[in-house]
């Protein structure tokens, strides 16, 4: 990760054959973030995912607007227009219900949009909490080592191995299911994976000479951690965080599906699908549309996360130069493999340098 911007700039202009003649004309130092963004923009899949996420966020923000446009508030049932003679939901496109209605004659489209508000809110907020907490724990464990490391690392392992549904069950009983409780549960499980990776990276970074230099200049441990080590960790943390958002979204949906999360009548993708269970025989849309919303969202975040990981990995640079895809996958996996080696019980196996 410590390749300088100038080296990158040179390689890139050589690689993409004059397409970036502006870059060749005036050589300027580019930050790693600028480079990442340039490479990310060339990744069509990742950009498509980004657009999809943007649309999702927009739809979620505009949910009240759609509710007033269709004259269907999210929690109001329309027994006359929204249910057929047998009391079953009506299908998509009937009586102004774009995606049909749910079991009590409410507008499914509007409810899915309101569900998106909950899902995205939970996803972003818990991931942010988890990222901050994970970085703090990982930095401390990795930098201080010794007893601090042992205690924090064991605790991290314990959290990673703990069945989250069981803890959610327990807390739902004690505190009662609510948005705050499920966000607490999700955040509690979100930091551990990040902490583990950050700890591993910190262990290697703190041995570098520039850290020793900082220390000999009289910098305190927290200054070193925040100003010297942390900037080098932002890339892997950003990737992990992007990949954790869909996990948090799924997490919330699962808890709501089990009745331990968002409580009706507030709409959540999970509790909509839970209600839909009684209408399999008659109303496919009731199951399919919330499932699609969930799938599209998580898939988009996963694809974007993979894209960012590729764009941040200096090794992918050579891939573009060589125009071969197989190397790209190697580079992508390397980040994963580094993380995995923290899990394994033996000294991490170090892959040989590329070049065969």
């Amino acid at each position: 990760m410590s390749v300088t911007g100038l080296e990158f700039a040179g390689q890139e202009t050589a690689a993409s054959e004059g397409a970036l003649d502006a870059g060749a004309a005036k050589v300027e130092g580019r930050s790693q973030w600028q480079l990442t963004w340039r490479r990310l923009r060339q990744d069509k899949v990742a950009m498509a995912a980004l657009v999809v996420i943007g649309i999702m966020i927009l739809l979620a923000l505009l949910a009240p607007a759609f509710a007033s446009l269709t004259h269907h508030p999210p929690n109001v049932a329309f027994p006359n227009t929204g249910e057929d003679a047998a009391g079953n939901p009506v299908g998509p496109g009937t009586a102004g219900f774009w995606l049909g209605t749910d079991g009590t004659g409410r507008d499914l489209f509007v409810r899915i949009l309101y569900g998106a508000r909950i899902s995205l809110f939970v996803g972003f907020v818990t991931t942010a909490i988890g990222a901050v907490a994970g970085v703090a724990v990982g930095l401390m464990a990795g930098y201080f080592g010794g007893v601090v490391d042992t205690v924090l690392a064991r605790f991290t392992d314990a959290v990673l191995a703990f069945p989250y549904v069981v803890l959610a069950l327990a807390l739902a009983v004690v505190l009662g299911p609510s948005l705050t409780v499920i966000m607490g549960v999700i955040a509690f499980f979100s930091w551990a994976a990040i902490a583990r990776i950050v700890r591993g990276q910190t262990l290697s970074i703190k041995e570098k000479e520039y850290i020793e230099a900082a220390r000999s200049l009289g910098a305190g441990p927290f200054r070193i951690m925040i100003f010297d080590i942390l900037p080098n960790l932002l890339a892997p943390v950003l990737v992990l965080a992007t990949l954790y958002i869909p996990t948090a979204v799924v997490f919330e949906a699962t808890l709501s599906y089990l009745g331990l999360g968002i409580q009706p009548p507030v709409a959540s993708w999970g509790n909509i699908m839970s209600d839909a269970q009684n209408f399999y025989q008659t109303s496919w849309w009731y199951v399919v549309f919330p499932a699609l919303a969930l799938l599209i969202t998580t898939l988009a975040f996963n694809l974007l996360g993979d894209g960012i990981r590729d764009a941040m990995d200096p090794r992918t640079e050579r891939v573009f130069a060589a125009g071969r895809g197989r190397r790209k996958r190697r580079g992508k996996r390397q980040v994963l493999a580094d993380g995995q080696s923290e899990v394994s019980h033996v000294a991490p196996y170090v892959p040989p340098a590329e070049g065969s």
């Binding site: 069945p163 009983v173 699962t254 025989q281 399919v288 998580t298 190697r330 996996r333 019980h345």
Partner: protein
């Protein structure tokens, strides 16, 4: 001998872990006011006298350390306490609900490992092939799918149409193997696929990546240069080395497996430990939930010991000591 020492040490630490979890669960649940529990049990129109009676009958009026002592004492005798509602012992209740859960875990784990490893190995040995591309897309979708969505969709597109057309082998709900293996499989096949799908995706990605890395090693080239058959190179030299991270991942995933089990049981109405525990929450039946938490902890501990043993068998570099 080394193995014996390892086992004894792991079992002892395992007991400590289970004790910690049990203690944590106990104090977590009993830290809340006893009145709420009693109110729930006694019904809406209960007089204060009735509520006091309920509290006394449940032993909730005793000091918390005394209650904790009774709880630990019972635990040592294999007694998990009694349900608040019908006074049935919790261990008998949970024992009755074990068969669906055990069936689900057994079949699901076998399916997920077989599917994940097979697809991963084929993908790695034929990297960039059509199969590999297809499996990569499938893995990505699998990773993005919540367990309950897969289950719901399977019910919608497999179970409902088949049964509407008179093909009734595939069923929801639970039927034990004693009713015939065919019936059992018919009831369990969708739950197995559901439980296995997400995890199989994780393991496909992991084993494919590991095997690709391993096959790029020098000693693989040496093995090929010696003239070994490709099958021998891949399985004896490649897969064996590539499997160790997969096995260690398995230890981490056991906890997540339990979460999946709870969800799958709810989707397919299997009964089982998870579903009973979720129901116990609605009724504030604390002893049942504590029992489930303890069993879950014990399961995770035992599974991790087994995983570590397998790990040592696979990788001679790991010493059990």
């Amino acid at each position: 001998m080394a193995i014996l020492g390892f086992l004894i040490r792991r079992i002892l630490t395992g007991i400590v872990v289970v004790w910690l979890v049990a203690t944590g669960a106990f104090f977590l649940f009993f830290a809340r006011p006893v009145d709420t529990v009693a109110h729930q049990l006694a019904g809406h129109a209960a007089t204060p006298q009735v509520i006091n009676l309920v509290i006394r009958n449940l032993g909730l009026d005793q000091p918390i350390m005394v209650q904790y002592w009774h709880f630990l004492d019972g635990l040592l005798h294999g007694n998990l306490g009694y349900s608040y509602f019908n006074q049935e012992p919790v261990d008998t209740m949970l024992k009755q609900d074990l068969p669906p859960t055990a069936s689900l875990v057994f079949g699901g784990v076998v399916l997920w490992l077989v599917a994940g490893l097979t697809v991963g190995i084929i993908s790695a040995t034929r990297a960039r092939s059509l199969f590999d591309r297809f499996s990569n897309v499938a893995v990505l979708i699998g990773l993005s799918m919540p367990v309950f969505v897969i289950g719901e969709l399977l019910i919608l597109v497999v179970f409902v149409p088949l049964n509407q057309h008179g093909f009734t082998w595939i069923q929801t709900g639970y039927s034990g193997p004693s009713n015939g293996l065919g019936v059992w499989t018919g009831h369990m096949i969708l739950p197995w696929i559901t439980l296995a799908a997400v995890q199989a995706a994780v393991y496909t990605r992991l084993s494919r990546g590991q095997l690709l890395d391993t096959l790029g090693e020098d000693y693989i080239r040496t093995a090929r240069a010696k003239g070994l058959s490709e099958r021998r190179v891949i399985f004896r030299h490649g897969v064996r080395a590539a499997l160790t991270p997969v096995v260690s991942q398995l230890g981490v995933d056991v906890g997540q497996l339990l979460g999946g089990v709870v969800v799958v049981e709810a989707v397919f109405g299997l009964g089982g430990l998870g579903q009973v525990s979720v129901q116990a929450i609605d009724t504030d039946n604390l002893p049942v939930i504590i029992g489930f938490v303890i069993i879950a902890a014990a399961f995770v501990v035992v599974a991790n010991i087994i995983v570590d043993l397998v790990y040592a068998l696979l990788d001679p570099r790991v010493r059990i000591a």
